[in-house]
Amino acid sequence: MKRTGPMQQEKDRDHKRLKIRQSRSIHVQSDSLENGAIDVEKFLSARSFEIRAFQDAMKRSKDSSSQRAFQSLPRCLRRRAASHNVRRIPKALRQRALYEMSLQSSTTKAIEPSRLRFKRYVRRLQKRISAAGKSKQIVSAGTLQTKHTTEDSRIPSLPLVRLVKGQFAQRQLRKIWLPTHLWTSKRAHMVNKWGYAIPQRPTAKSYRPTHRAAFTEEAIAFDMSYEPIFAITAPLPVLIEKYKSIFGARWALYSSCSRICSGLIKNVETGRTICPCLTQWNKPSEAFVQRLPITEKNNVAQVVLRVHPAAFVECWDYLSGIAVKDSRIAMHDWRMQLGSIDVLGPRANQVLHDVLQTPIPSTESNVWTSIKKLSHNQLPIDCSLGFHVNASQTATSATSQNSLSQKPMLEYWDAKTLPSFQVFDVTEVNGIGARNPPAITPLMVARRREWNGLTIILPWTSIMYFWRKLMFRKGVRFGGLDNLHQIAFEKQIPFFPHDYPETEAGIKAQAVSREDAFSYWQRRPPAKRVNFLKLENGMKELGDPFACDWSVLDKNYPTLTPVRFHLVHVIITCSTRGSIHDLARVYKLPTKESLEEWKKHSLHYRNKLHEVEKFPASPEESNLVGYISTGNFNLRQGKPSGIGCVIDQFSGSSKRGYCLIRNCGTGVFRLAQWKRF
């Protein structure tokens, strides 16, 4: 490079100084002033000029400071090697990144393809191809342990995993990878649960962004393919007769409307909840019904169910226990054929419309395009809609001539006919997109009443295509189990299985989290961890400090043992001060007078924690009535809140009341209010 002479250097320096001065100066209004007379108009105009000048100055100083291409990316798109590896930067910024790298005077040079590497690569490929031909095809990797199966697969046996071919087949022999695994595993901490590899949480810190995406801004999407989808087919009256008490009285009414029914599955004999589930009625086609090994083939209806994997085997065993005795009922396992995506957030509907842009014309897709401008809140509760989308490369977006002026066709859901899950053409579900996603993709969109978003059910192999489109759209985040739990907590609904101690799955989940909490505590040096034997007030922690210890209540209420079958879900908030954390203990107020005492005490905000004498008398151990399974500062409510369970004897018939809260590991009691969920 030619050295610049002193004249040029001087010019460069001046130019640079000018640039700096320009970027740091703030414009001042300079017209002449009258002799101090104040004119409101002039005052206002002077102020607004000043505002604009300040904003301008801020923008200029930001622009002038040099920012590399990779520094302008949002947190979720930043990669570690982006500064020197152009492939880690989105395509739109690559040119600029290359230019910037060339400006740097670093000595790294681009990797040149070498012939030796290429030869080695070709040799590896050849070995792999020849090995693939010789290796044995894995036909089965085992089955799930279920209680009831029939020979003619009226009630089929459930395969343990989804057999795949290809590079990662060996890793999927003991667990099921979600269809979006290859995308998600690079962006989230994964966990093996319930036979699936599920994202626990994104690697990027996203507690507040999850809250914003779900309640304030755009949308957050979850791959829910780990929730098994299965079906029961039988003549309609048989279905209703046998299963009505399990699913609840409301369920049978949904057989004549185009809506999903979300409720709980209850074990009728014991009266206990098994798990929440989403059900969709369907009328299967004649061809399908003819091929079923059932004895009665008139007026056959079908119920499609989606449940949580923690309770799937329990559900299947219970429902198949009823089906196995009646040869008119068949069951189908579609866990590996159908998957689902949940999109939550205020703009869930708009986001989905942007992704599902090429519907194949039909009444349903007309209804779909007509509701483009609505928010999911404005759709009928529990509504569901099935249509086809053209997912091939050559699909063009739907013609927008009629979509803008179309009135939303909400009356579609008033029709009283057996609803259609038919879009899936159930004869083919078992083979649906076995290797390749179908070009014309059937899918069903539904709105669940408790959640603030939409659920889509699609063929397993199509999910990756639509997931990528969803993630590419601006403003859509993705989440894992922790984020879903957080959203349920902020909406103040219990999250299965963590907040359902009355279910088997709930108890198992609490046992697992107990082990995690205990092992974390154990690994810490004694000086740096909570000593549960010595709390404030000279107390000792009540029960197991790492779990909601229902055995303590079993002792106190011997008539109600096991206590966890006599629980009521509650939402708890502090009256004035205090915070609520997981595993907090809930006590009842000893007497009526103590309520007045506590109210008076809690109104004095300045009562310090250590001024123990000023607190009213602490309740005894026998006053324990429940636990809080999820407690935190609730960003949506703006104050701490908790979801938990108390014994129904305590709540009685009332819907709300007072109680005392003590966080696990502390000795301080706080007055709180409970409300039945």
Binding site: I26, L33, G36, V40, F43, F49, E50, I51
Partner: protein
């Protein structure tokens, strides 16, 4: 490397003897009040009240980053260690160009951006208040 930190004082100049002071406290200053004049006055005030020692500790980093005679608002940059000396000196200035003044520091900030944002907020709320006032009067 020790980071050199400074404080940015957002201040406004009030003229209590102006006839319309009680209606609208902020008055435009005359054309003669330039930032360099103001800067000299502030230095003089520091020297008068805090002597050579005070002036020496503050002087190296004392500068007016922004001053608008129209709105009588300005931003003063001072070293963080001794910003209270500059603040006190501002308060103790009682005369500028023959007029009685009161200099009021509205905001201290660690970056100029924050001071600018504070100024924007004040201006926006002033505009809002005055517009409401105006509308009421029209009715």
């Amino acid at each position: 490397m020790v980071r050199f930190k400074s404080r940015y004082l957002l201040f406004e100049i009030l003229y209590p003897e102006h006839k319309q002071f009680h209606e609208i406290p902020a008055v435009p200053s005359g054309n003669q009040l330039t930032s360099s004049l103001l800067s000299k006055q502030i230095r003089a005030a520091v020297h008068e009240n805090f002597g050579d020692h005070g002036l020496g500790s503050v002087q190296s980093n004392l500068s007016i980053k922004y001053f608008s005679p129209r709105t009588s608002t300005g931003i003063l940059r001072v070293a963080r260690q001794h910003y209270r000396i500059a603040w006190a000196a501002l308060t103790l200035i009682h005369e500028l160009l023959g007029q009685k003044v009161v200099i009021r520091v509205v905001r201290t900030a660690g970056t100029i951006k924050r001071a600018e944002m504070a100024a924007i907020e004040r201006n926006a709320s002033d505009i809002r208040l005055l517009s409401i006032h105006d509308e009421v009067e029209e009715i």
